[in-house]
Amino acid sequence: MNELAIIVFAPLLAGALAWLIEVKGIREIIGVIGAVLPLGLTALLYQKTSEGLNFAVNVGSFNLTFGLNHLNWFFVAIGTLVGFSAILAMVSTAKNSYEWLFALMSLSGVLGVFLASDLMTFFIFWEIMTFASFMMVLHYNRAASLKYFLLSVFGAYAMLIALGIIYAKLGTFDFGAIQQAMYQEAYATAFGGETIMSKSESALIYILFLIAFGVKAGMFPLHVWAPDAYSETNQSYTALFSGVLSKAGVYGFVLLYVLMGTRLAIEFGAFRSATKFGYVIAFLGGLTIIVGGLLAALQEDIRKLFAYSSISQLGYILVGIGVGTALSIQAALFHALSHALFKGLFFLIVATIVYRTGKTTFADMGGLAEKMPLTFAMAFVAILSLAGIPPLVGFASKWVLFEAVISQNLPILGGMVFFGSAIGFVYLIRFVYAVWFGQRPTDLDETKDAPLPMAIAMAILALFNVILGIAPGLVAKELNKIFGKEVIGGDLFILDLGFGKYNALAVTIYLVVGIIIAGIIYFLGAKVRKVPVTDTYQSANPVTMEYNLTIRRNFFLPLKETLAFWLRISFDRLYRTIGTWVEDLAEVMRTYIYNGNTQSYAWYLVILLLILALWGV
């Protein structure tokens, strides 16, 4: 028995056991064990990554083969870490063993996707992951799950067709073989030799993979499933869903580069310093940043806000991947890590709020910072990290990404990522203001702080946010290993890109010093007196708690007015219209062609025969 097998199948087994043993208490223990095992083994396998590790199961006609290398160790590490925290938090929030089964199943599915070393395995585990997450959403909301299911199936078929073409042309599913073949193809194209795959076919494969991975990564304009699916499920599971499962799409894009990057690059040439096919991804990513961010700022529901913000953050990763230099792909992977960390943390915080208050809209929240200090501290870390405030991991990754994009002379993308960072501030402040500060509704006065499992889970993620932020060199080292060369220089605390340096330690030290100086000035002054929220200056009118003093609904109304024209465009509506058209078309076919009348079928047969005859068969 092999570690990889344990990593992949332990969660699945644990889930099945937890589902069978319908006992509260035991099933939690089993589930957590099922999440701990992969985490521990991944940590143990760290040394073995360099020489690599393989494992194969024979399932009937073909093998499920798994392999370990630096790239997918990185992704597996993200998956197991965030997955473990999410599963730990589910101890508090999971309602029944159904959720345990499918949450763990999707975890093992995503781990299988990361570890797969041939396309068939990749596809199978992809489907397991999609199915499990679909069941999780179905448990909560039918419409959202159906939307998610339709788009995923769309993507899955796209991937299946691409697989079929590749197998038909190259006769193998194995990554290594495909890579070899594609290299030969590339050189053949470069030197004008004849190739197995024509330009159009490779373009087709590229587009199919783009759709397949774009759906999972929530790329604009295929993002419409994400807000509903992310918001309409168990929120601690969403930490896994948005933090890890979306990374499967990112991993897919990286895989696209690994498998047929050179081929596509040579086939379609370059736009400025970026490859054309990559620039498409990057530009869609940039649009994803802006659309996701602007929509996030206008949401009235916490879960939806973070769903959109997660879409927007994935846009950064796509931009990084699309630009396609070694540095930018490293930046993308780095941001994938930090996104998993802070967004997982965010969804755990949302889970805590929902679990403790039972409310989800901003209109019912307010003043929770006094009632849930620990959760607020975690939220503080997460907010600083997402908004990209040094010295936290969010800034380090975003900084590398900015420099990677801008140094490639891509001004439009540069402007897009800058805008995205600003809009991050905007929707975060809206969350902070409506949920934590201001006047507290009287029915929230008995709110308690987070339960222990969730507190631990949040603490783990927050700790990583801070550590990797102060010492970004740790991550940079791993990323360099993936590429086998020194792309991001510097040591533990310093990131050195040649044209820019970032010293996290200095930032930390001087920030602490500055805060100390400010604190000295503060404590030299006269001491302070606490006043209630009703003792604020409101044009000197006396107020009581009956008034609502906090703007909770429509906080960014001016923004909405400014963007009124653009907000009328909705891809969600577009897809619905297309769906209705398809239904109508099916209706027409059923009434006029497949009308179950034997005579007409006979006529079709005759016409067919005639055509064949004319063809001279």
């Binding site: 900015f402 934590w436 503060y522 906090t550």
Partner: protein
């Protein structure tokens, strides 16, 4: 170690002092434009002493205090990264993107503090301030992109050094566009008309600042002074050629001369902003957003695209 600490201390004290002088200068110039005498130039220092020596202060909770302290701390952090002639503590790490972020962080602290007070005016003010920041971010981003792509480096210090040899940035056409856009952005960074809707004094009684009094306001005055210094210094470094004078024999003279040159450039930047502020009425927030997303964005994007060619 000791030397670095001394340098940092010098930068801090110098920045605070000059920042206060700048605040006084703004008030005097505005007064003269109004045909008034105006306060003495050391007026802001008196205000700060008065505010810090208030005998009673109020708080709305831990975040209310910490946000203010954090704002000042982050501002002190920011000026350490901006090269001040040839006395730089962290100028080797003075990265364009980093400094741009660091100059925005203090506002986040102020917003946290203001919002935790639960005052409706503070909420409205914070909303407007954030939307203004969102609006200025687009031209700002394009301007930074233009710089980075024109010089091929992100290090502010290297940009300054490059300008010593090849002339000021604004003599190059793409960077002239970038500079125009960035100067319009500075107007909103200083919170002066026509983009001072976030602290509209008459209507929402200073917006985010409404609840700050006593020492909180004093700390914010110091923060504002340092931020004023930092922003003008950053602008004059990246666009107006900075200063690194090496003509004199002794390093002391060089340093003094550098500081003087920088001071003149900063004052020029400041006066432009003051004149604009003194003669313009106020934009509403959506007007400001539309304005920033139209002309400055076009200009800056033009600059960025020209810079890449």
């Amino acid at each position: 170690m000791i030397e670095i600490a001394l340098k940092a201390l010098f930068i801090l004290i110098y920045a605070t002092f000059i920042g206060f002088m700048f605040m006084g200068m703004i008030r005097i110039v505005t007064a003269r434009i109004h045909r008034r005498v105006g306060p003495p130039i050391y007026q802001p220092i008196l205000d700060t002493i008065k505010l810090l020596s208030k005998k009673s202060n109020i708080t709305h909770g831990l975040i209310y205090d910490f946000g203010v302290i954090y704002a000042l701390g982050a501002t002190i952090l920011a000026i350490m990264f901006i090269p001040l002639g040839n006395i730089g503590v962290l100028r080797a790490y003075g990265d364009l993107v980093l400094i741009t972020f660091l100059l925005e962080i203090p506002m986040l602290g102020i917003m946290f503090a203001a919002m935790s007070s639960g005052n409706p005016y503070a909420g409205i003010g914070a909303q407007r301030a954030l939307l203004t920041m969102l609006a200025i971010q687009v031209p700002l981003g394009f301007a930074i992109v233009a710089l980075a792509e024109y010089y091929g480096t992100f290090s502010t210090y290297e940009i300054v050094m490059a300008q010593q040899s090849m002339g000021w940035s604004i003599t190059a056409l793409p960077l002239l566009f970038a500079a125009i856009a960035y100067d319009l952005v500075l107007q909103a960074m200083f919170g002066k008309e026509p983009f001072d809707i976030m602290i509209a004094p008459g209507e929402i009684s200073l917006g985010p600042m409404v609840e700050f009094g006593g020492k909180h306001m004093g700390i914010l005055q110091i923060q504002h002074a340092i931020a004023l210094f930092g922003e003008t210094l950053f602008f004059s470094n990246i666009f107006l050629g900075g200063a690194a004078i090496t003509i004199f024999g002794s390093s002391i003279l060089n340093t003094i001369a550098t500081l003087v040159v920088l001071l003149i450039k900063q004052t020029a930047v400041l006066l432009v902003a003051t004149f604009m502020g003194a003669i313009f009425p106020r934009f509403t927030i959506d007007q400001a957003t539309r304005f920033y997303w139209k002309w400055p964005t076009i200009i800056a994007a033009l600059g960025a695209i020209l810079a890449t060619l």
